[in-house]
């Protein structure tokens, strides 16, 4: 246990001081605010028919931007680009160490490979949790700002709704980060890991879902894929309701909330265990 704590402290130090981590979390927050609030607000304020709010009544647009709707907007962007960014985070955090030879130095320090790499996983978990909570805080701040500007009464999101959304956010981000860690471990290179990971998350899964709509056996598989699970969880918790139709990229309605959440949790564990098993057995060259 001590070894895991030492390793986590070490990993938190090196990740905290890595500009790339802050860039990724920052990009996610900016994208989240841009797609969740800025475009919606412009549409609402100007009455223009942009892609975000086409055909949606202004009252609905405004309601989507209010504090009460923060849980929905928190997870709406996570399955698609949020997940992609977390996959990059996981892939870089693990893959880069191989290119730099830093894993070799780390594994020579003593805590044992499982503890050392476990420390990386825990540290990434802390960053993911921080990113989710920061997103919630930013969304809440922006929505309160909009409510004040538009002279609306501030209705806070329910505690249970907020907790559910944060929990779902942790699961979705955690799964994609763990997926990044696994491809980073497999590829032992950040570029290959991130490239392949993104092709899978953004292209292959969508293509397979397209094929699955035509072929039953393929659909049975695509219904259980990581992206489907993440999109379904977001959809089940109201992610799709944001624009009043099935339009938010990556948000799906394939699975119900509970099965989707269990499936995601299973993926988190499977990805982490597979990465740990690889790291502990493989030669470090």
């Amino acid at each position: 246990m001590n070894a895991l704590i030492s390793s986590t402290r070490a990993e938190l130090l090196r990740l905290r001081k890595w500009p790339a981590v802050w860039v990724m979390v920052g990009v996610w927050l900016v994208l989240n605010v841009t797609f969740g609030y800025v475009f919606t607000y412009i549409t609402y304020a100007t009455g223009d028919a942009t892609a975000v709010g086409e055909g949606v009544p202004p009252a609905q647009l405004l309601a989507d931007m209010m504090p009460a709707a923060v849980p929905e907007s928190l997870i709406a962007g996570m399955p698609m680009f949020g997940g992609a960014i977390m996959l990059i985070l996981g892939g870089l955090a693990v893959g880069s160490g191989y290119g730099w030879g830093a894993w070799k130095t780390v594994f020579m320090q003593g805590p044992g490979r499982l503890s050392s790499f476990g420390g990386t996983l825990v540290a990434l978990g802390v960053i993911v949790a921080g990113a989710v909570v920061a997103t919630f805080a930013v969304d809440l701040g922006v929505s309160v700002l909009i409510a004040s500007v538009e002279s609306q009464t501030i209705v806070w999101p329910t505690l249970s709704g907020s907790a559910e959304a944060i929990g779902a956010g942790l699961l979705i981000f955690g799964m994609w980060t763990a997926a990044g860690v696994l491809v980073g471990t497999l590829a032992r290179s950040p570029a290959l890991a991130v490239g392949l990971g993104l092709v899978w998350a953004l292209v292959v899964e969508n293509l397979l879902r397209g094929v699955g709509g035509l072929l039953g056996p393929v659909e049975a598989v695509t219904d259980l894929m990581p992206g489907t699970a993440a999109g379904s969880l977001a959809g089940a918790l109201g992610g799709t309701a944001q624009s009043g139709r099935d339009g938010t990229p990556g948000v799906l309605t394939v699975l119900d909330a509970a099965p989707a959440a269990w499936l995601i949790a299973a993926y988190v564990i499977a990805f982490a265990v597979a990465a740990l098993a690889l790291v502990s057995r493989r030669d470090v060259i």
């Binding site: 030492s6 130090l13 001081k17 730099w100 030879g101 130095t105 594994f107 060259i285």
Partner: protein, 309 residues
């Protein structure tokens, strides 16, 4: 057993068809500087990686500090720099050491001590990627010194250092050895090993050719004599050293396998026999000569280049 820090038994590593390390059995004793000597690609680094638990042997076994390589207690007792320094480029030298110190459960004092020992304190705040090759190498050694490990494994520690840096590194290793630190040092620089090592293991093409002290490896000192007339000189020399101890050299000189303390007696005998002595001196084989003789099966041309570099 307590005096043996590292022992390997028929340690072997095979990568596909290539035998990188072939049945290497070596022993490193407590408190000595052990030189692991061989040309590039001989299997030095692979052997060290196996001792550090980074690479699994294909067959054979090893014990490091009484444990299997890679056992947390073995790893914790060893500080190592293998195949160049591996650090986070965006972190400063100091932060890199702080990260490694945290892994070891150590604090900031040890980091400052290690930085100071390698003369890096002044540049400790600069990012690792801005360091020169020599500074990176020194940071690698500083990381290896964290926590005063029982065994220090240094893989070509003078790589990339300028002559002054090399001299500093050697001095550091000698200093450490004087304090009783056990050091396992790999090198392709014979002069380096000759200067600072107590014992050496010579490896070539994956096989450990020999393992002994530097003095044993170089053999006994002999005495070279150049004198005329040659026949009288030969007869006199044989009279002093014994018939079997005298060899005629290609250039007409004589090589006597006698203790150097016999030189005055030999000189007196030659002069009394009426021989004109042109030259009489002690001769000791350099480690380099021994090495070439031993590895002549491998490619000597590329070796020379490496050694002279």
């Amino acid at each position: 057993m307590t005096n043996t820090i590292v022992v390997t038994d028929m340690l072997t590593k095979r990568y596909g068809d290539r035998l990188a390390v072939d049945e290497v059995s070596l022993t490193v004793r407590r408190g000595e500087v052990y030189g692991f000597l061989g040309p590039n690609g001989a299997g030095k680094t692979t052997t060290l990686r196996m001792l550090l638990g980074l690479v699994r042997p294909t067959s054979g076994s090893a014990r490091v500090l009484g444990h299997h390589p890679g056992h947390p207690q073995a790893v914790a007792g060893v500080g190592a720099l293998v195949e160049g320094p591996g650090f986070y480029p965006y972190l400063s030298g100091r932060d890199n050491l702080r990260v490694m110190a945290r892994y070891r459960g150590l604090g900031g004092t040890e980091v400052e001590t290690a930085l100071g020992r390698l003369d890096l304190r002044e540049r400790g705040g600069d990012s690792f990627k801005s360091y020169s090759l020599g500074m990176k190498q020194r940071l690698g050694v500083a990381a290896a010194l964290l926590g005063d490990p029982e065994l220090l494994v240094l893989d070509e520690p003078t790589n990339g250092l300028d002559p002054a840096g090399m001299a500093d590194m050697r001095r550091l290793i000698v200093d450490l050895a004087m304090q009783g630190q056990t050091v396992l040092l790999s090198s392709h620089m014979l002069s380096e090993v000759q200067e600072i090592c107590d014992r050496v293991g010579v490896i070539s093409a994956g096989r450990l050719l020999t393992e002994s002290t530097v003095a044993e490896l170089r053999g006994a000192t002999s005495v070279i004599v150049r004198a005329t007339p040659a026949d009288v000189a030969l007869a006199t020399a044989m009279g002093v050293a014994g018939d079997d101890a005298v060899r005629l050299l290609d250039d007409g000189g004589l090589q006597l396998d006698v203790d150097p303390t016999r030189t005055p007696a030999l000189t007196r005998a030659l002069v009394e026999a009426g021989v004109a002595v042109h030259e009489i001196r002690h001769s000791e084989r350099s480690l380099e000569e021994v090495f070439f003789a031993m590895t002549s099966g491998s490619d000597p041309a590329s070796m020379t280049e490496e050694v002279l570099r």
